[in-house]
């Protein structure tokens, strides 16, 4: 019975299954690399939540930076596809404030590095900070134009 059901499945179903399996695997691998604490006591840094959105004309990077002094925010390219965001907190926070007593450490900075998946023009980068959210707009580089007949 199960054999018959398998035989009846179309090629598209099989391809769809393979794509789903592949996506799940790549997601797991990505997660395995990303599984690390969101803080570093040695550098007194907390990693903020951050996301990258690729639009047709630009890449928009946002970061959640609560308790941040806006004047201290720095956005700098590390390499042509890696952007670093750094900001100083208005006041230090410690594990104890989060109800954790078995770890010691204070944090006074936010710091994260995020990869930009497409070519961008960093010189034309624009930033804004509103409601504790940093928004970085990076215009995409345009290689060539195809003439539509």
């Amino acid at each position: 019975m199960a054999e018959n059901r398998r035989r009846r499945r179309s090629l598209f179903d099989l391809i769809s299954d393979y794509v789903e399996d592949f996506e799940a695997l790549s997601e797991e691998m990505e997660r395995a690399f990303a599984e690390r604490p969101s803080w570093d006591t040695r550098s007194c840094c907390i990693e903020p939540l951050c996301s990258v959105f690729v639009a047709a004309d630009e890449v928009v990077v946002t970061a959640d930076l609560p308790n941040t002094n806006p004047d201290t925010i720095k956005v700098e390219p590390v390499t042509k596809d890696l952007l670093e965001i750094r900001a100083e907190m208005k006041r230090k926070v410690s594990f104890e404030e989060f109800g954790i007593t078995h770890r010691k450490g204070e944090f006074s900075f936010f710091r994260c590095q995020t990869r930009i998946p497409v070519a961008v023009d960093v010189k034309r980068m624009k930033t804004q900070f509103k409601r504790g959210i940093l928004e970085v707009h990076l215009p995409r580089k345009k290689g060539y134009r195809i003439k539509v007949e």
Binding site: E27, R31, S38, I46, E47, P48, L49, S51, T62, D64, P66, N67, V93, E97, F98, G99, K130, R131, G132, I133, E135
Partner: protein, 247 residues
């Protein structure tokens, strides 16, 4: 055969109560809002959810271990709260069990508080709260209370399932969904949802402390938000941005 999901009752559970769900979803709106209500109304733990499908974790509070998905109660209000992200594969059986359990307790209303992700959320000065309901009469009640109805589109995730299972079983259920960030904790949206919850239930809940502590909550909620986002991606939560097709 053992049950896939069990609700383990630790104290007597009131009948005919309103059940509020605070589960990790976009902006952690429901989780933040429900957690605030539990503290404000001094609700105590009456039950917890046990399942092999849930992560192998306990949450320590003042040195004592607790299940991450717990149920609190005080008088006529019951609240479910999950302090850890619920794995995508566990969402269906857990939500089905919560609805079945609520029905067994003759719940008079199930309320889900959550978020509706919007682009440029940081540009919104005030947050709008939309309502959805399991039957037309409740939709009218929401409208009468001045809550705009979420008339079309997709709902994805725990609240979508609660709404569907409640509609199937004729359990009165509403969802109060505040405009929110998708993957950043949003205490302001939680405060807006609580205000509408107060209107619906007549319970007075002060949200000033929640707003005051907004930055601290956002800092504390980063890790839960990150894991919740991973599970939301598995549930294809972004389908909420899609336009449905009715021809």
């Amino acid at each position: 055969m053992s049950e896939l999901v069990r609700v383990v009752e630790k104290k007597p559970v009131p009948s005919n109560a309103t059940i509020l769900h605070g589960l990790p979803d976009v902006g952690l709106v429901g989780l933040i809002a429900t957690s605030h209500i539990i503290t404000q109304l001094k609700m105590s733990e009456i039950a917890y959810v046990d399942s092999e499908l849930l992560p192998s974790v306990v949450v320590l509070h003042e040195g004592l271990p607790y299940a991450p998905l717990r149920i609190f109660g005080n008088g006529g209000l019951i609240a479910t709260l999950s302090e850890a992200a619920i794995p995508a594969k566990a969402v269906q059986p857990v939500m089905r069990k919560l609805v079945e359990w609520g029905q067994a307790k003759n719940t008079k209303l199930m309320v889900s508080m959550g978020g509706v992700p919007v682009q440029d959320r940081q540009d919104l000065e005030t947050v709008k709260v939309y309502g959805a309901a399991s039957n037309p009469s409740l939709l009218r009640t929401l409208s009468d209370k001045g809550i705009e109805i979420l008339s079309g589109g997709f709902m994805v995730g725990p609240y979508a399932l609660i709404m569907r299972y409640c509609a199937e079983r004729n359990i009165p259920a509403i969802a109060l969904l505040a405009q929110s960030f998708y993957n950043y904790p949003d205490p302001e949206a939680a405060a807006a949802a609580i205000k509408e919850f107060s209107k619906m239930t007549g319970l007075t809940i002060d949200v000033s402390k929640l707003v005051e502590r907004g930055e601290e909550i956002r800092l504390r909620a980063r890790d839960v938000m990150k894991r919740t986002e991973q599970e939301l991606n598995r549930m294809k939560k972004t389908q909420e941005y899609d336009l449905p097709l009715y021809v």
